[in-house]
């Protein structure tokens, strides 16, 4: 048995050095591909870098830069930037840099999750609507049209007034008001895809409608979905900031860029710029980065379609 085992394992055994080097070609290939993509999509690449930096800032930053974002400290309120507090403190003594990191976590978490939820709903809705067609399509699209008529911020304000939302509730609510564009775009793709030969062939061999939608329509609309999801992250972050700015976001002491901006504006006449600019810039830079990335991803898919 021992011999057999040895014999059996011998051909696959590799040295530690080899083990370290084996995946290298794949990683190098991915890096090369990324490099090529970046060469042609500099803005998207810049956006991606900003997003990575923001993510590290928000999630790794608090591990390095420790601050108390739960307990107020009334002995050090409204302090200007210093070595101890690089971005100063706010009106109840929270360190602004630490608060930016905490706020970034909720913005990115809510942004990504809400965008994902919106994309799932929108994709399913649009794919089914476009694939089935007829009165079902007409009905489903009228629902979308009707929902479009209601400004999302108005709905969010209504919900925010009725109850103080938690992060999970915010994700659900933002997701539920953000799926409409995705549904429309995917429905357009679906209308086109259902006439393709491979879809017709699948139907001819007896594939059922749910399988066709799941295996042939949605995967081929993935480009649209990815691009729109990226845009939706930016939209969700902006909506969250707006809601928090109006005092209807997560309750204190939960940190949020919109709430920080709103709070800072109370001290605009006092000249406490450090309570306004960092949060405002964080919102703008983040939204800008996601928009830049989404634009470039869209261009990439468009270019691929032109080549095919």
């Amino acid at each position: 048995m021992m011999q057999q085992a040895t014999t059996a394992t011998a051909p696959t055994s590799i040295s530690p050095d080899q083990a370290r080097r084996r995946p290298a070609p794949r990683a190098a290939s991915a890096l090369r591909a990324m490099g090529r993509w970046c060469r042609y999509h500099k803005l998207g690449c810049a956006g991606l870098v900003v997003i990575v930096v923001l993510t590290l800032f928000s999630f790794v930053g608090p591990l390095v830069y420790h601050t108390d974002q739960v307990h107020t400290n009334l002995t050090s309120v409204n302090l200007a930037p210093s070595l101890q507090h690089p971005l100063g403190t706010d009106n109840v003594g929270y360190d602004i840099l630490g608060r930016l990191m905490e706020g970034g976590q909720s913005s990115l978490e809510v942004g990504f999750a809400a965008a994902l939820l919106a994309s799932c709903i929108g994709t399913l809705w649009g794919a089914v609507s476009g694939y089935v067609g007829g009165w079902v399509d007409a009905l489903m699209m009228r629902v979308v049209d009707s929902a479009f008529a209601i400004p999302p911020l108005l709905l969010l304000l209504l919900v925010g007034t009725i109850f103080t939302p938690s992060v999970i509730e915010l994700i659900i609510v933002l997701g539920l008001v953000s799926w409409l564009v995705t549904a429309r775009l995917v429905r357009g793709d679906s209308l086109s895809l259902r006439t393709r030969e491979y879809v017709q062939a699948a139907i001819a061999v007896g594939a059922r409608n749910p399988r066709v939608v799941a295996r042939h329509v949605i995967p081929n609309a993935l480009g649209t979905i990815v691009v729109q999801t990226t845009f939706e992250v930016a939209n969700a972050i902006l909506l969250l900031a707006s809601l928090s700015f109006l005092g209807l976001g997560p309750a204190p002491p939960a940190a949020n860029w919109g709430a920080m901006l709103s709070n800072g504006l109370n001290y605009i006449y006092a000249g406490y710029w450090w309570q306004i600019y960092p949060a405002g810039l964080a919102i703008v830079v983040t939204v800008l980065a996601f928009n830049m990335l989404a634009e470039s991803v869209r261009d990439s898919f468009a270019a691929r379609l032109m080549h095919t």
Binding site: T72, P252, L265
Partner: protein
């Protein structure tokens, strides 16, 4: 595909939109004057034809005009507006004396107490309604009849007090009303807390059961008085018709309503038939609503207001205000400030019924630190009990001067009563039961010390103090979950009986605490604890008897009775006391005659002149 100008443009669009969106939202907040029009554009250089615009507080806008105030509409904003059109029998407090009857602003001569303070006669001055008929004793009796039939609908109703403590009210001639009381009362209390709430109403115009019905004497029967009240109350709920409803045009005050919008904007014009001593000298008085103090301050500095206030987070910016052509006037109400606890809540009722928990909730409120750090040391003063700290009175007991803030004491109170406090999060009951070292009746094992705290939106300083309270409470294992709502929503939920109380709230902070600013500088406990819209504390017999003593004792016994009442309340901590604020008013240098009356906090625009 290489980046080109076209591609720059493609992402520039959404990006610019983003920046604009953020800026717009920011701008909305800064300038959300919610109907704040360019009032100064209409300002005249002389009183005749001048419009004076005053900011309404961010913590409440008027939302009901009917001068028989219900509990849900009981706010200083409503009372102050109604007083311009339908003054009370007595306005208490002058610019120099908080306790004096304000003669020029009162409809009646000083009351005359006789028969050992068991009878009081009130003689009206020769005022006229705007329809030309005189204000008579019948109008006072009309109010009293409505009150008798609808007492539980009246915001100022306290069981045992007006109208229950008045055996009869009768007219003596056309201008005198004689009130016979069921026992002797302290005249100061009866004038300040009972007579000062009476509002003569135009019987010749309002004593009807429908808009198209004829005026009669319906108020003389209980059923009729109920029908009249229901009619008037329904009309009062119809805010869209305030400017056009003929009912509200019959006034005996100096002003008539011209316009009201749903956001709280009010325009008053002079009552040309006003028969009082101080005729209006300006053409219009406007009250502008704001959803936040920041928006108000922006409008003040931007020149769209004549009278406003400096937000408490901008106290250091008073030089900007004076530089913009205003002078600053500090005012305060005869008030105490507290957060109310919901004793009828199925969730936290059993918790707040325990004295040690109420004491712990008070022990984690650091008022001096909040005043120092959040209110720039000058924006407020401490309040540890039911007697107002400002102005000074002989009623405060020494115990009220002690600052209860002590987190360690709060922790000790909880641990000694069977609670386990974790390093983070809420304390949990580990020793249920009713023993002296147990959690207390109705508290099950594992129950956590978690409260939702609803506080009024629109105030930066209040948000900061609530964050600080939450923070300090967490150190004692008390989790406080904060949420905000507008003032009118919060006061609509709170009332002092289990039947009308909304069970959803747990701790409520409507920002303004409890003020006797509806007419009285006498800080009696009945309106606060026993009133129909008072706090939700189930008043024990001992407290009730102490309150009665404050109403019936007179002379040197008054202060003694008040101190006994004060001591009992502080030892039993029925509410969570919090800091009280000053109002830092800003008045345009062009507007003269602006006085903030110490008891009502109100202004009387008929005294205004514009230079």
């Amino acid at each position: 595909m290489k980046p080109t100008l076209r591609r720059w443009k493609s992402w520039l669009g959404p990006s610019v939109a983003t920046v604009i969106s953020v800026s717009l939202v920011a701008a909305m907040s800064v300038a959300d004057a919610t109907g704040a029009s360019a009032a100064t554009k209409k300002h005249a250089t002389a009183s005749k034809g001048a419009v004076v615009t005053m900011a309404e507080g961010a913590q409440g806008t008027p939302n009901n005009i009917m001068p028989f105030v219900s509990g849900a509409n009981n706010s200083a904003a409503n009372t102050n507006l109604q007083e311009q059109m339908w003054p009370t029998l007595y306005t208490i407090g002058t610019a120099s004396n908080v306790n004096a009857i304000n003669g020029p602003m009162s409809l009646a001569n000083p009351p005359v107490y006789t028969k050992g303070d068991t009878q009081v006669s009130v003689t009206l001055k020769p005022y006229k309604w705007s329809d030309g008929t005189p204000v008579t004793a019948r109008d006072v009796i009309f109010f009293m009849n409505l009150l008798k039939a609808n007492k539980t609908s009246w915001a100022h109703y306290t069981p045992g007090d007006m109208p229950t403590n008045v055996v009869s009210w009768t007219a003596k001639g056309t201008s005198t009303v004689v009130f016979k009381l069921n026992r002797a009362y302290n005249p100061t209390w009866f004038t300040d807390d009972e007579l000062a709430y009476i509002v003569p109403l135009p019987q010749q115009s309002w004593d009807k059961e429908s808009a198209t019905g004829a005026v009669g004497t319906y108020d003389t029967t209980t059923a009729g008085a109920k029908a009249v009240y229901n009619f008037l109350n329904t009309e009062g709920e119809s805010t869209a018709t305030y400017g056009s409803n003929p009912l509200w045009q019959v006034v005996d005050g100096a002003w008539k309503i011209q316009q009201y919008t749903s956001n709280g904007f009010v325009a008053l014009v002079p009552n040309t038939a006003y028969s009082g001593p101080d005729k209006p000298k300006i053409a219009k008085f406007e009250e502008e609503p704001f959803t936040s103090s920041t928006a108000e301050f922006n409008a003040l500095l931007g020149g769209t207001l004549d009278i406003g206030y400096v937000p408490l987070n901008d106290l250091a910016e008073q030089s900007r205000v004076t530089g913009a052509g205003f002078h600053v006037v500090r005012s305060e109400l005869v008030a105490v400030n507290m957060m109310s606890l919901n004793y009828y809540s199925p969730v936290v009722g059993p918790l707040v019924k325990q004295l040690y928990i109420r004491q712990a909730l008070n022990d984690v409120m650091d008022q001096p630190a909040q005043i120092s750090a959040i209110l720039d040391k000058a924006g407020g003063y401490v309040d540890y009990g039911p007697i107002p700290t400002v102005p000074k009175t002989p009623y405060m007991a020494p115990i009220q001067k002690k600052n209860p803030f002590n987190v360690s004491a709060a922790r000790k109170l909880l641990t000694s009563h069977g609670w386990k406090i974790p390093a983070n999060g809420a304390a949990a009951c580990v020793r249920p039961g009713t023993g002296s070292s147990d959690c207390g009746a109705g508290i099950k094992k594992g129950k956590t010390l978690t409260f939702s705290l609803l506080y009024v939106s629109g105030s930066g300083y209040l948000t900061a103090t609530m964050e600080n309270y939450k923070s300090d409470a967490s150190k004692a294992g008390i989790v406080v979950n904060l949420s905000q709502q507008p003032f009118n929503s919060i006061v609509g939920d709170i009332c002092g009986t289990p039947t009308c109380n909304s069970p959803g709230w747990q701790i409520a902070n409507w920002g303004a605490g409890f003020s006797w600013n509806f007419g009285s500088p006498y800080p009696v406990g009945s309106t606060m604890f026993e009133g129909h819209v008072g706090l939700d504390y189930p008043v024990p017999k001992k407290l009730a008897s102490l309150i009665t003593a404050t109403e019936t004792s007179s002379g040197p016994n008054t202060a003694k009775a008040m101190k006994a009442y004060d001591t009992w309340v502080i030892k039993n901590d029925p509410e969570v006391w919090q800091l009280e604020t000053y109002t830092i008013n800003a008045v345009s240098n062009k507007v003269k005659g602006v006085t903030f009356y110490p008891v009502t906090g109100n202004v009387f625009p008929q005294d205004f002149t514009v230079k």
